[in-house]
Amino acid sequence: MLQDLSQYILDIAENSLKAEASRVEIEVFEDTREDFITLRVSDNGTGMDDAQLSAIENPFFTTRTERRVGLGIPFLKQASDTCGGRFEIRSAKGRGTVVEASFKRDCIDCPPLGDIPATIMTLMVGWPERDFLFRYSFDTDLFETGTEELIQVLEDRELLVSPEVALWISRYIEQGIYNLRTGGNESFEENNQP
């Protein structure tokens, strides 16, 4: 089992990148009225045919050759099922894949959100030549950022991997999520002193 939703997102996005996706969209929706949290990872990678798609929820299916057990997707499905959520993978060969999992927020087994900023930063540093879009919504409020926006400022894709820039990206996303969760009424800096 992975510990939290941010680790699942990293794991699924790594699958997308191994499937040659040039662009990965990562979305997290929190809905306090319906009391659901939903993750969605969408890519434009190689996609899967029906046989692969039906096999992917099986823990003993993997495309990897070093080790014969694949656990990321079955774990996520199990966690979502346990929490009264919905789990779905849609894929088309040559078009890409969408993985979506929802969780009832008040479920005692609902994994915590975890360190989403570190997940996005790790993806951007690990795969600087690919494009990422991160979208987070809390009820009707939306925070969004991504490679395209950052490169407009940096004017150089290689700067994404510099430690200073990478850590800034992590802080930027951390603040974006924090502002939405607190309705922008509390100071991020005051509440996040080291």
Partner: protein, 123 residues
């Protein structure tokens, strides 16, 4: 007053640090973190963050930090490879964020391998 991190701050980082990509080509030391499911579960992402923080703290800009998938030593995750130009590839195992400063100072800066964390070496 409320301080907001904005894209304007990113622009300042870019302008103030002209040497962000100094020595970007060739002859660079590489640090590679295993980021397969096994690595993620063992805490590889926290190790990655610790590496970036230590490099920033020490102002080391000529180090390439990369990630890779599962390489088949899952029980030893998190795995971190260090490759200095002209030297064998050193693989460190069961690396925690607390081991990162030592690996960076001893190995990357001073060139001495941190023997007690090594799980393998290849050319």
């Amino acid at each position: 007053m409320k301080k907001i991190t904005s894209l304007e701050d990113l622009r300042k980082i870019k302008e103030q640090s002209k040497d962000l990509t100094a020595a970007r080509s060739g002859g660079k030391t590489r640090i590679i973190v295993g980021m397969g499911t096994c690595g993620i579960a063992a805490g590889a992402r926290e190790v990655m963050t610790a590496i970036l923080q230590e490099l920033e703290k020490r102002g080391l800009t000529d180090i390439a930090v990369e990630t890779t998938g599962c390489i088949g030593m899952c029980q030893k995750e998190p795995l971190v490879d260090v490759i200095r130009p002209g030297e064998p590839r050193t693989t460190y195992g069961e690396v925690g964020p607390g081991d990162v400063p030592r690996i960076i100072v001893e190995h990357i800066v001073n060139g001495n391998i941190v023997e007690d964390k090594v799980v393998g070496q290849t050319d």
